[in-house]
């Protein structure tokens, strides 16, 4: 009842939250368009209208969709591999001191070394078509590993004590006590890793130039000073990133809810 007027007052007399957001976006799009017109050089800056036109043009070609599908499937493969290995290694590190100490510098290095260095190094080992798979893997694994390990360590000792008194066997203990404690950590790790991995994967393609990928098109835009295409491909990458994250979050939430609603 009293929520609406309060909210309006909180926004300083501006219309509701969504309206304010759209206005802000419209404002910056206008600034962008005006700047592009003022500069008057298509190489330096193109306006949003032209970018959208170019994007629509690209979206009408089969090459655009083939490139998106290729990049997406390779990076997704690496992401899944990274998530699986992170999930598998974390319990091993929890159980074995040796495994943990051995893994610590590896995960630390994977997180600390710049992606560009890895890209060039990996290019010496694998063909460029498999580059983004490996890079996505390298990006995802340490994030998932660190978070899942943290989740395992944060498991309430009171719950473990309870499981001990009731004589709950190891399988049930892992399935119910640990998994329910770790799932929120895993969810956070996956949605964080998804965005980072996607961007790193495309960056790897720009350097490795595998055929028919988003990265290759970005590189071509640079070589031919084709700024409209550069912007159009960038918009496509952002849209895919936001869309994928929303999709993944929904899927994970639904899985979590189903897990929790079991009678």
């Amino acid at each position: 009842m009293s929520g609406a007027p309060n909210r309006r007052r909180a926004a300083g007399g501006l219309p509701g939250t969504w309206g304010a957001r759209l206005l802000a976006i419209a404002f910056w799009l206008l600034v962008w368009q005006l700047a592009a017109t003022a500069i008057g050089s298509r190489i330096v800056l193109v306006g949003p209208v032209e970018v959208l036109a170019r994007l629509a043009e690209l979206a009408g070609t089969g090459e655009f969709w083939r490139s998106v599908a290729t990049s997406l499937s390779r990076i997704a493969l690496g992401f899944v591999a990274g998530a699986l290995s992170g999930v598998a290694l974390a319990p091993a590190a929890r159980c074995s001191r040796v495994a943990r100490e051995l893994l610590a510098p590896v995960m630390g290095a994977l997180k600390a070394v710049p992606v560009a260095s890895f890209v060039i190094l990996v290019l010496m080992w694998v063909p460029s078509s498999e580059l983004s798979v490996v890079i996505a893997w390298i990006m995802t694994m340490p994030i998932v590993y660190t978070n899942v390990l943290e989740g395992i360590e944060q498991t309430d000792p009171g719950l473990l004590e309870m499981a001990r008194v009731f004589g709950i066997g190891p399988v049930q203990r892992i399935r119910l006590v640990y998994v329910t404690q770790v799932l929120p950590y895993l969810r956070a790790a996956l949605s964080l890793a998804l965005g980072l991995t996607w961007k790193a994967g495309v960056a790897a393609e720009v350097i490795g130039l595998p055929d028919l990928t988003i990265g290759e098109h970005l590189y071509e835009a640079k070589v031919y000073l084709d700024t409209p295409s550069l912007f159009a491909w960038t918009v496509a990458i952002v849209v895919l990133s936001v869309g994928l994250e929303a999709l993944a979050r929904r899927a994970l939430d639904a899985a979590l809810r189903r897990w929790e609603a079991r009678p």
């Binding site: 309430d156 009171g158 719950l159 004590e161 309870m162 499981a163 001990r164 008194v165 009731f166 004589g167 709950i168 049930q172 119910l176 006590v177 329910t180 799932l183 979590l256 897990w259 929790e260 609603a261 079991r262 009678p263």
Partner: protein, 208 residues
């Protein structure tokens, strides 16, 4: 090994704090034992020793060989992400099919009997008092030989406490039950309990 639960010459200290001193107490099997005493007297320590969660500094803790244990703690110790029924079923072996359905029916009847909602919400959405009752049901339905209750009805209104105990009484019959409380009214809710007092480092009883 004796048949029942027993403490034989047990001492226990936490750092400089001596909680139990040379305590000997035998808890007859198949009966309900009520442990009363002031806060901090060591009632919870007695339960934790009997559950095997603490080792005595001196003396021996005796437990029937192969006895299955169930317990409520001072905290609820529920799995927040699971439903009430999944929490109650935790001590049991995994069930499926018709056996799961039978067990679910038993759990739902138990939830209704103690005034809890029967739905698919995870227990993190339940109130503190409701969570407490889920923890009591997990202990009572665990099919255990020995049940240890650590102030289970603490903070519960009298009507709910009566309702919970009306449900518990037949489940406790014939099992070895240790019931810690400092509320004398709870004694009346239990079936022919044996009374013990825990104070000043000793456990005395049973008082007839």
């Amino acid at each position: 090994m004796s048949e029942g639960l027993a403490l034989a010459g047990v001492s226990k200290a936490y750092g400089a704090l001596r909680v139990l001193e040379d305590v000997t107490a035998r808890f007859a099997p198949g009966r309900t034992h009520v442990l009363m005493g002031p806060s901090g007297a060591g009632k919870t320590t007695v339960l934790r020793l009997l559950a095997g969660l603490e080792d005595p500094d001196a003396g021996r803790v005796e437990r029937p060989v192969g006895a299955r244990l169930a317990m409520t703690f001072q905290e609820d110790r529920l799995l927040d992400g699971l439903t009430a029924t999944a929490n109650i079923r935790l001590p049991l072996e995994p069930l499926r099919g018709a056996r799961l359905e039978r067990e679910l029916a038993r759990e739902r009847a138990a939830l209704e009997a103690v005034g809890l909602p029967v739905d698919r919400r995870p227990v993190r959405e339940l109130s503190g008092g409701q969570r407490r009752r889920v923890a009591i049901l997990r202990c009572a339905l665990a099919d255990a030989d020995v049940m240890l209750f650590d102030e289970p009805l603490k903070g519960m209104d009298e009507r709910t406490a009566r309702r919970v105990n009306d449900f518990l009484r037949p489940l406790l019959a014939g099992r070895t039950v240790l019931w810690v409380t400092h509320d004398e009214r709870e004694v009346a809710l239990l079936d022919r309990p044996l009374l013990w007092t825990v104070r000043e480092g000793g456990v005395r009883g049973p008082h007839m």
